[in-house]
């Protein structure tokens, strides 16, 4: 750029003398031309004047000659006149010719010529006559006068011509001085210009020199830096290359050429001697996204950083690409690294993490991470499922929030010990409070995670839902209890009944004694009465318990027969009619002894209720199922006895509640209901005073399928069948 400025200056400088020269030449030419014309004009004027002078002389000579002749009549005086004659014409003609371009002078000349011609005429005439002296003198005078006029005209003419001449002279000199002036000015200007330009040239030269110096300095620095960068380029571990993106006709990038590659390029890509070759030459199957990416960088100039896989090279690359050089060159510099190993590690890590995550999430136990202050830091999905909360909800809670109040103290004690460092873990069976529903029994093991100073950072609690187990345990305990109860009952029955019987017998015998006081009789009667009551109670409650209680299929017909047999005498005594009707099915699933007790109690009640000649109806119907429930047989025991008052009807199943007038423990229906419930059955009562009472017992036909375990185990007697 510097050069071109000085070049311009230089060219200007070169041009200037040329222009000046041209100018000078022009002026000179003009000058010469004007001088020439002036000279010509001068010559012309001179010629005219000379000719006029000549003419004047001739005319004068003519006049003189004529006068003289006329005066002297000497022929020698006529010579000039005659000679002059022709010459005058000649001069005139010449003058006319000369003055062809000057109409004013020409007019004057013509005037002169006319005057002259008149004088000549006059003269000629005079010649021809003889004149007297006086005439000669007056004629001479006349002629002289005319000649004077001509002389005046000629003088005028000459003066005018002279004037013209002087004008020309002036003009010439003016022109030459003007030319000189212009020339001087031109020279001055040129000089000034040259000076100025030289100054400029010098300046720019100076500038150029500075620039050149700086440039060389910079170049040096650049070289230095280039050297450094080259070292970098050569020595870095990362691959570096400059590529030229190749676009197809539609402007889609589909290849790139390696313009330059650093030594590490080969190591990072596995490609050798890439310079000058294109990517597709090495890997025809290279993924399009590479070309698209570089194409975009080349077109937009926006650098890109990305990680991607090159399948054919079996590598993963982390690359940073930026446009380099002018946009139209479509060159991109790429700094990259082979991260296949890293990627593999990453993937392995991810996979491992995934596995752990799966483990954590899908573990069949709940896992909690609990902060020292009790907040739940993290819970897995199993835990959420156990508790019925979402993870978000749980993370707002502390472990105490979700622990049953009765269990909090126990856990708090264990936790204290963990805090102070006495133990690193504890186990505990406790109840969680789920979002909805009953408390859930769990078995938890909590382990401390400590920091290097030994204080508790957080703890990890593994939660096992033991509801099922507990339920099973409870059922077992319950069954045990029942079994024990049964056994106990059986034993008790035996143990009680015998002494009771003996006591009753003894009292009876005692009452047979003679001479008993009334009081004694009464006492004995009372004693017997009370003992009979006890006997009644035991019969009701302990009567039919057996030692073992495994449910089986029981034929109701048999049970009915047995019970009917039991009450045969009583039924006969009261002359009670018994109607029996059976359906197609008679088998129920249960414990025979207990079923017998159920029926026995009901029949017993009916017998008590009816008066003589009453009627008892027994019916077995079914099976049917209600609401998709397990199928049940319906056993109906009805009587046409006294019926039960509506206000009492709701209480008949209460223990120790009785409406009977005779001895009644009030336990009959209560026990019956318990037994029915135990069989997963249902008992219903309908009664109308004066009309009778009907009891319906629904009993299951078959063994329950295992997944329908009863929920409610906190009650004393539950259906366990």
């Amino acid at each position: 750029m510097m050069r071109s400025a000085s070049q311009v200056a230089l060219s200007r400088l070169t041009l200037l003398p040329i222009i000046a020269l041209v100018l000078v030449t022009g002026i000179l030419v003009l000058q010469i031309h004007s001088l020439e014309s002036s000279a010509a004009s001068l010559d012309h004027s001179d010629a005219v004047i000379a000719r006029m002078h000549s003419l004047q002389r001739l005319m004068i000579d003519e006049e003189t000659g004529l006068r003289g002749y006329l005066l002297t009549s000497r022929p020698e005086f006529l010579e000039p006149y005659t000679l002059g004659r022709g010459e005058v014409d000649g001069d005139l003609a010449e003058l006319q010719r000369l003055l062809s371009d000057d109409p004013e002078q020409l007019k004057l000349l013509n005037q002169i010529a006319q005057e002259n011609s008149e004088w000549v005429t006059g003269a000629t005439r005079r010649l021809g006559q003889s004149e007297s002296r006086a005439q000669i003198i007056s004629g001479g005078l006349e002629g002289k006068r005319r000649m004077d006029h001509i002389r005046l005209l000629i003088a005028q003419f000459i003066q005018h011509e002279d004037q013209l001449r002087t004008n020309s002279e002036h003009r010439a000199s003016y022109l030459s001085s003007a030319a000189l002036a212009v020339l001087s000015v031109a020279v001055l200007v040129a000089a000034g210009f040259i000076f100025f330009q030289t100054q400029r040239l010098y300046q720019s030269h100076e500038m150029y020199r500075n620039l050149a110096q700086r440039h060389s300095e910079r170049e040096m620095a650049l070289n230095e830096s280039e050297a450094r960068y080259r070292t970098l380029f050569e020595s870095i571990d990362e691959g570096f290359c400059i590529i030229e993106v190749i676009f197809d006709q539609r402007g889609k990038p589909n290849d790139y050429k390696f313009i330059e590659t650093n030594p590490s390029f080969g190591k990072q890509t596995g490609l050798v001697a890439a310079q000058g070759k294109t990517m597709r030459e090495f890997a025809p199957e290279m993924e399009q996204h590479w070309f698209d990416m570089y194409g975009q960088v080349a077109l937009t100039g926006e650098p890109a950083r990305f990680q991607n896989r090159a399948e054919q090279l079996h590598r993963w690359f982390d690359a940073y690409a930026f446009r380099i050089g002018p946009p139209e060159k479509r060159r991109v510099a790429v700094l990259f690294q082979d991260i296949s190993d890293r990627k593999r590690t990453e993937e392995a890590l991810l996979e491992s993490e995934e596995r752990f995550r799966a483990l954590y999430e899908r573990a069949p136990v709940g896992i909690e991470q609990v902060a020292p202050d009790g907040r739940l830091l993290k819970v897995n999905s199993t835990q959420c499922a156990i508790l019925g909360y979402s993870e978000a909800e749980l993370l707002l809670k502390t472990f105490e929030d979700i622990t049953h109040p009765d269990d909090r103290a126990t856990e708090a004690a264990l936790l204290r010990r963990m805090f102070v460092g006495e133990q690193d873990s504890y186990s505990l069976e406790k109840r969680y409070l789920p979002k909805s529903g009953n408390p859930v029994w769990v078995n938890i093991t909590s382990t401390a995670v400590r920091d290097h100073s030994g204080s508790l950072e957080y703890r990890i609690t593994v939660v096992e839902d033991i509801t099922a187990r507990r339920r099973a345990e409870q059922a077992l305990i319950h069954a045990e209890k029942l079994a024990v109860t049964g056994r106990m009952a059986s034993v008790m029955a035996h143990e009680i009944n015998n002494p009771l019987g003996a006591a009753l017998n003894s009292l009876y015998l005692a009452s047979l004694a003679r001479n008993l006081s009334d009081a004694t009789c009464r006492h004995l009667e009372l004693a017997q009465h009370e003992l009979e009551r006890v006997a009644h109670i035991t019969r009701q409650t302990l009567g039919f318990y057996r030692e073992t209680g495994n449910p089986t299929k029981v034929d109701l017909q048999t049970v009915v027969d047995d019970v009917m047999n039991l009450y045969e005498s009583e039924l006969k005594k009261k002359r009670i009619r018994v109607e029996q009707r059976y359906g197609t099915e008679q088998t129920v699933f249960g414990i025979e002894g207990e079923l017998r007790q159920i029926l026995s109690n009901l029949v017993n009640n009916s017998i008590d209720a009816v008066s003589d000649n009453g009627c008892i109806r027994l019916r077995v119907a079914g099976p049917s199922s209600l609401d998709g429930d397990r199928p049940r047989i319906r056993l109906t025991v009805g009587d046409n006895g006294s019926g039960i008052d509506p206000q009492h009807l709701g209480r008949v199943f209460e223990p120790f509640f009785s409406v009977k007038k005779s001895i009644s423990t009030g336990l009959g229906l209560w026990v019956t209901q318990q037994l029915v419930k135990k069989h997963d059955g249902k008992i219903l009562i309908r009664s109308k005073p004066g009309l009778g009472t009907v009891l319906q017992v629904f009993l299951p036909v078959e063994r329950r399928t295992p997944n329908r375990l009863s929920q409610d185990l906190d009650q004393d007697v539950q259906a366990t069948l």
């Binding site: 015998n498 002494p499 019987g501 003894s506 003992l531 009979e532 057996r546 002894g593």
Partner: protein, 136 residues
């Protein structure tokens, strides 16, 4: 006078029951085991056998069967404080049909039963309908 044999391994019961029966005008013998009972049965004519069911060794039920077979004239009344009794009885339900009373029985009730039983003919009580009523 009718002879009643009372069998119960509970001595007190057997004795008091026997005393009651005795007082009511029956000839009553109390034994405390089935073996003894069988002995008595062999020696004498017994009109009514009252036996507890739950006894060690030979239980009342077995005794009852034995008695029916060998002493068809003897009426049988079983008493028991145990529900399992009925099970046992059911075991032989198609063949034998014995009266069963549940302990403890109020003496008055027992006496009524006894009276009623003795009024009946032995065969209709103890045997099957198919058993011919040929015996006197």
């Amino acid at each position: 006078m009718k002879t009643i044999l009372v069998v119960d391994d509970e001595v007190v019961l057997a004795d008091t029951l026997s005393a009651i029966l005795q007082h009511s005008g029956y000839q009553s013998i109390a034994v405390y085991g089935a073996a003894e009972a069988q002995q008595i049965l062999r020696e004498r004519t017994v009109d009514l056998l009252i036996s507890d069911v739950m006894m060690p060794d030979i239980n009342g039920f077995e005794l009852a069967i034995h008695t029916t077979r060998n002493h068809p004239d003897t009426r049988i009344l079983l008493i028991s404080g145990n529900a399992a009794t009925q099970e046992l009885l059911n075991g032989g339900a198609d063949q034998y049909h014995f009266e069963l009373l549940a302990k403890p029985i109020p003496p008055k009730q027992l006496l009524e039963h006894v009276k009623e039983l003795l009024a009946r003919s032995p065969l209709t009580l103890n045997g099957d309908a198919n058993v011919p009523e040929s015996h006197p």
